[in-house]
């Protein structure tokens, strides 16, 4: 038995092939259906949050404990002696990796996880590095899409809100571009999808359309991925004007497909009104829960050879 992710670092979603993404999603599904509480028994996983991120950390740590592993680490480097003594990340990583069987990390600087992987003696899983990558968010998004649609192929997917700065949107678009999905980008012109993502989609021959409001888009969709338009990026009048075009309410679901599911990386502020929560389309809280299964899948694949080709 072997799997291509065994003993590998998980740094960037673009490092993963379609087959590897499918393997992670199927492993998450398997672990959700059939828990393995002893899979990581006797394994010590370091949870190193050089920058605080409570939900991501709790999700990772839950994943370790649900598989029977132990966690060491810190929730914020401000509470440790690491930064204060002026040690480089490279040195910290060499020491921490000598204590553990794998570690996941969050850092405020872009490229930190890639650098850590070059100095670590054990696999590194990126839990977010600045504005760069957050691959486990994308994996839980993919798992949620698979779970609700039964496939990742040929779906109609809309991304709504801040598409310029939203790294979750960028990574998920890159991942779904391997599955022949059709994209609908809904954003105010000032927050539209960056040129480099558009160029990548063109290069791969993907179909996409850009819109400046949700009007007429919803009825086509299988997945509606909402993100927050940050109020502070606009003046008050502009924001009030814009709100109606990018805020999802329960009244807007008339004529949508039965299988439509609304996802959101959370936290939401006011871009999805709470009346959406009780509709059959809302899936964002289940999506957050799926983060634990996606992270369990990664740990299981990176640390054991029990999944994958048999």
């Amino acid at each position: 038995m072997s799997n291509p992710l065994y003993n590998k670092n998980i740094i960037s979603i673009t490092d993963l092939s379609r087959a590897e993404l499918e393997l992670i999603v199927s492993t998450a599904n398997e672990l959700k259906q059939h828990p393995r509480p002893d899979l990581l028994k006797n394994k010590v996983i370091a949870s190193c949050f050089f920058e605080a991120s409570t939900r991501t950390r709790l999700s990772f740590e839950t994943a370790v404990q649900r598989l029977g592993g132990s966690v060491i680490g810190f929730p914020d480097s401000g509470n440790t002696s690491l930064g204060k003594k002026g040690e480089t990340l490279a040195d910290s990583v060499q020491v921490i990796s000598s204590y553990s069987d794998a570690f996941f990390m969050r850092h405020n600087q872009e490229g930190a996880a890639r650098l850590a992987s070059e100095f670590s003696s054990v696999p590194v899983i990126n839990g977010g590095d600045g504005s760069n990558q957050h691959p486990t968010q994308t994996l839980l998004d993919l798992f949620s899409i698979y779970e609700t649609q039964g496939t990742l192929d040929k779906l109609q997917v809309a991304f709504v809100g801040d598409l310029k700065y939203g790294r979750t949107v960028h990574s998920l678009t890159q991942a779904l571009s391997l599955f022949d999905c059709e994209f609908h980008f809904v954003a105010p012109p000032a927050l539209s999808m960056p040129e480099y993502i558009i160029d990548e989609l063109k290069e791969k021959g993907c179909t996409f359309t850009q819109y400046d409001s949700l009007d007429g888009v919803l009825s086509k969709l299988d997945i509606l991925y909402m993100t927050r338009v940050q109020k502070e990026r606009f003046d008050e009048t502009e924001y009030q004007h814009m709100k109606s075009s990018f805020i999802l309410t329960a009244q807007m679901f008339e004529g949508v497909k039965d299988n439509l599911k609304v996802l959101h990386p959370l936290p939401r502020v006011d871009e999805i009104t709470t009346d959406v929560d009780s509709t059959p389309y809302a899936y964002y809280f289940q999506q957050a829960k799926n983060g634990v299964y996606a992270r369990q899948a990664l740990l299981a694949l990176v640390l054991t050879n029990e999944f994958g080709d048999k």
Binding site: S12, T14, T88, L89, A90, H107, N108, Q109, E110, G111, A112, R114, L115, E118, D129, G130, S131, N132, Q133, Y196, D199
Partner: protein, 152 residues
Amino acid sequence: MKKHLKVEAIEQGTVIDHIAPGQGIKILKFFELSKGRQRITIGLNLPTYAGEHKDLIKIENTVFDQNQANQLALFAPKATINVIENFEVVKKFKVAIPEQIAGVLICPNSNCISHNEPVDSRFNIKQESGVVKLKCHYCEKSFISEVFKELH
């Protein structure tokens, strides 16, 4: 009427020819050529036989190696390097854009981890429709060669 280039010939050294107009000064700064003691002649906006314009640099008593030539390609992908001995061109080659460049440039992303750790900067290089783009190995951000101002 025979046309002559209005730049003096050199006895020994390197002539970097076919530099896009405007890039000559940047190359001079990038390679810190003016800091040495060798004599340098630079021609800007020189007319070409094809009716276009180019920049040109002549550096006496200096021969560019392949590594320097590849770095040069980031700024002047169409440049030609002529090695001169006794006023004659003894070797002529085109620059080639390398696939990777390490330890030479500083990542323009000020929040890139490569700035304050014991590693060399590393960039993967791609040319898209004539534009040279460098993607940082660490922060994964892409930049066009024009934005690089500093060297390690």
